[in-house]
Structure formats: structure tokens, C-alpha cells
């Protein structure tokens, strides 16, 4: 059982100046779990997610990824990050590179994969996200939904063991949200461990194994989607859900 633990956080706290954004979060995420984090803006969802790969440095507490305490000084965070993909709200594709180069850069430079091998992986992944014909395009020539699908392919090219999604559909036009969620769904069904910060309640209900409700830096609800959506325990969860559903 303990071998299946992918992420463990222990009393994770994060302050920005005097503002306490995370007030002590302890939880465990196991292999192949799809966890959705919901909650009002400013509740610390994104900050929590960004602490998991140290884009944000926790103030105290620890984050343990597959047995490695990444908050320890001796941890090689670059190495840990190769195992965890991240998808951002604003895509963050590299605008000066073609779609293909966006995807192959990290495997070539970080993992030392050969160019042909990296390109094979990239073309394969582009096929999976339905954008094979866009390999030679530049990010500026793509729609938002296409950009986000490329960003997912770019993260997957490192063959990560888990994926972090930071509001992946929040910057998209409504008609493009579906295409990105479809890619994420198929990823979930393939058994990828995923942590998704999202406002897409439909996705959370349908795809996730677990839903966390966060408010004011704390996890107030941590249960199956069915229980969280239909039988929330905390009054704040109830009031939040009544506003968004």
C-alpha cells in the first residue's frame, strides 16, 4: 500500500508576507488517483498545486514525492520534476519554437533522448491529442484549445508519473473547453495519476476519484465526488456548491 503513495504532504504551510495562503495541509495521493481540487478563488488551490513541484516554496511542512522529500535541501528538484508534468492556465508554450520543438526540447535537453526518438514520441502524442497536422506550426497560429492540448502533449513527452493541472480550461473560450477535457479524460482512463485544480464541476463529478474542497487555505472536504457534491459535510462547501452548480 505504501508503495502506491505518489504524493504526501505533511502540515504544508505557505505564507505570502503576512498572508497565510495555506494553513497546514496534510494529505496522501496514491497511484492512478484522479483528484480534483475545487473551491473559491483565493482559497489556495493553485498555490497548493504549485507547492507540489516547488514552483512555490512552502513556508513550512513537507512534500514527499514517491518517497523523496522535495522540501529537503539535498533534493535535486530538477530530477523530481522530470517525473511530474504540469499544465498551466495560460498554456505557457514557447512562442519562438514550433509545436514539435516545444514538445521535444525537454526530452532532448533534460533526458538526453535522441532527436529522432524525441520526434517519434512527439508525433505520437500529437496524434493522441488530435493535432498531428500542427507539428510544424507555431503557438501563435493555434487556438486556445489547441495550445492547451499541445501543452499537455509537451508535459507528457517527459513520460511523467503524475500530472498537475492548474485551471487548464479557465483561459479558454467555452467551445474549446470540451476538446481539452476530452484529452484529460482519456489520460485519466489510461491510469495517469492526476491532480486537477478546476472550476469544471462536470469533469470533477464524472472523472475524478476524489474531490477536495478548499477554502481559506484549508481542505474542508476530501471525499468521493458523489459524497462531496450530493452530501457535503461542511457548511462552506454547501454554500459554495449552491453558487456554482
Amino acid at each position: 500500500m505504501t508503495n502506491d503513495v505518489v504524493i504526501q504532504t505533511v502540515d504544508l504551510k505557505k505564507n505570502f508576507g503576512t498572508l497565510e495562503v495555506l494553513k497546514g495541509i496534510s494529505l496522501t495521493i496514491t497511484k492512478q488517483e484522479v483528484v480534483c481540487i475545487i473551491g473559491p478563488s483565493g482559497s489556495g488551490k493553485s498555490t497548493f498545486l504549485r507547492c507540489l513541484n516547488l514552483l512555490e516554496k512552502p513556508t513550512s511542512g513537507s512534500v514527499i514525492i514517491e518517497g523523496t522529500d522535495i522540501t529537503s535541501k539535498h533534493c535535486d528538484i530538477d530530477l523530481v520534476r522530470t517525473n511530474m508534468g504540469m499544465v498551466f492556465q495560460n498554456f505557457n508554450l514557447f512562442p519562438h519554437m514550433s509545436v514539435l520543438d516545444n514538445i521535444t526540447l525537454a526530452p532532448i535537453k533534460v533526458k538526453g533522448v535522441t532527436k529522432t526518438e524525441a520526434e517519434d514520441i512527439a508525433i505520437n502524442l500529437l496524434g493522441k491529442v488530435g493535432l498531428k497536422e500542427k507539428a510544424k506550426s507555431y503557438p501563435g497560429e493555434l487556438s486556445g484549445g489547441q495550445k492547451q492540448r499541445v501543452a499537455i502533449a509537451r508535459a507528457l513527452a517527459m513520460q511523467p508519473k503524475l500530472m498537475l493541472f492548474d485551471e487548464p480550461t479557465s483561459a479558454l473560450d467555452p467551445e474549446m473547453i470540451g476538446e481539452v477535457l476530452d484529452v484529460m479524460k482519456s489520460l485519466a482512463y489510461e491510469g495517469m495519476t492526476m491532480i486537477v485544480v478546476s472550476h469544471e464541476m462536470g469533469f470533477a463529478k464524472e472523472v475524478s476519484d476524489r474531490v477536495l474542497f478548499m477554502d481559506e487555505g484549508l481542505v474542508l472536504e476530501d471525499d468521493t465526488p458523489n459524497n462531496v457534491f450530493n452530501n457535503p459535510q461542511n457548511p462552506r462547501t454547501k454554500s459554495f456548491l449552491s453558487k456554482v452548480l
Partner: protein, 222 residues
């Protein structure tokens, strides 16, 4: 009559003036070239997390930008020989002082270019496991360089004009050539107007070139 007279006189001096102008362009190109290399490092050093590197860069940039170029030229040409005990050729002194001067200005251009790149670019690269230097080399600098080409062109123009100051150490660039001619002929107005026009033609052509490359980059960077 006046203009015709001026044209005939200046035409006769043109070979000497153009010889000086050629040296002016060469000096400027070398200074901005070295300045670019110095500036990349000083500009990155300026935003480095390493306190020592940051302090050295800040002191360098502030000192150079806060003191007159003329003083810097004289420190290298007159001051340094006193310390090292032998003279420095004017050409070497000119290149060294102009490069060091240009480097400080380029550093600020590089710094603002790097800082203008969205933080998300760094985060995306780092989240893929790239190191800080890999991120700089493959993601940040290539994008920053495109943005700093226009201000770098302005720096080139500024340096082209400022290089006239090395005339004080008797380096025969355009300004010094003009001085040599008018101290002999006593027609300073005629020759200084001619020199100005040559400077103007050079600076205008460079800004044309910068605008052209800017447009080229914009179309290739859709």
C-alpha cells in the same frame, strides 16, 4: 556662391573625413560587439540570486552610467599607465573604454529584456525539469534577444555619436580628422557642418536598418 564654395572645399576634404568616418564605424561596431558580450553577463548578473555577482554587476553598471564617458576614456588612457607603468596605445584605450561603457548600457537593456519575458515561460521550462541555465539559454534569452534588438540599435547610434569623444586622445576618427583640418585651414564652420552631415547619414541609416530588422523579426515571430 556660399554653398558652391562650401561644396568644393568639403569635397576636397572628403577622403580624409571618410577615412575618419570608417574608423568611427569600426570603433563603434567593436565597442558595441564587446559591449554586447559584457552586457549579457552583467545584465544577467544584475538579476542574479547570487549576492556577490549581483553586487559586482550593480557597482559596474552604476559606476559606468553615473560617470562621464570622457572621464572613463581618460582614466584608461592617462590613468591606467600610471598604475601599470607603461603607456597604453590610443587605439587600445579607445576600444577598452568604449566597450566597458557600452557594456553597462547594454546590461540594462538585457536586464529589461529578460524581465519582460513572462514568468510563465520560466515556470513551464522549470516544470519540465530544465535547469536554471537551460531555461535561460533555450527559452528566455532567445525571446529576450528579439525584444532587445531595437534598443540595441539605439545604443549603437548613441555609441556612434559618443565615440567622437575619443578625439581627445588623438585617435583619428571622424571628429579628430575634422579638428585636424580646421586647425590648419581656419574654416571650422565648413568642416564641422560636413562632419555633422556624415554623422547624420550614419545614424539615420542605422535606425533604418534597425526598423527593417524589427519588421523582419515581427513577421517571423507570429
Amino acid at each position: 556662391m556660399g554653398i558652391y564654395n562650401w561644396l568644393v572645399y568639403v569635397w576636397g576634404k572628403m577622403p580624409i573625413l571618410l577615412e575618419g568616418a570608417l574608423l568611427t564605424v569600426q570603433l563603434t561596431a567593436i565597442a558595441v560587439g564587446f559591449g554586447f558580450i559584457i552586457g549579457i553577463f552583467a545584465g544577467m548578473g544584475r538579476i542574479s540570486k547570487n549576492r556577490l555577482i549581483k553586487s559586482i554587476s550593480v557597482i559596474y553598471i552604476d559606476f559606468i552610467r553615473g560617470t562621464p564617458l570622457l572621464v572613463q576614456i581618460l582614466i584608461v588612457y592617462m590613468g591606467l599607465p600610471q598604475i601599470i607603468g607603461r603607456p597604453i596605445p590610443a587605439m587600445v584605450a579607445a576600444i577598452v573604454s568604449l566597450s566597458i561603457n557600452s557594456g553597462a548600457y547594454v546590461a540594462e537593456i538585457v536586464r529589461s529584456g529578460i524581465q519582460s519575458i513572462d514568468k510563465g515561460q520560466t515556470e513551464a521550462a522549470r516544470s519540465l525539469g530544465m535547469t536554471h541555465s537551460q531555461t535561460m539559454i533555450h527559452i528566455i534569452l532567445p525571446q529576450a534577444v528579439r525584444r532587445i534588438i531595437p534598443p540595441l540599435g539605439n545604443e549603437f547610434i548613441a555609441m556612434l555619436k559618443d565615440s567622437s569623444l575619443v578625439s581627445v586622445i588623438a585617435l583619428e576618427e571622424l571628429m579628430r580628422k575634422a579638428q585636424l583640418i580646421y586647425t590648419r585651414d581656419y574654416r571650422p564652420f565648413d568642416i564641422l557642418i560636413a562632419a555633422s552631415i556624415i554623422y547624420l547619414i550614419m545614424t539615420l541609416s542605422i535606425s533604418k536598418l534597425v526598423r527593417f530588422s524589427e519588421r523582419r523579426l515581427r513577421t517571423s515571430d507570429k
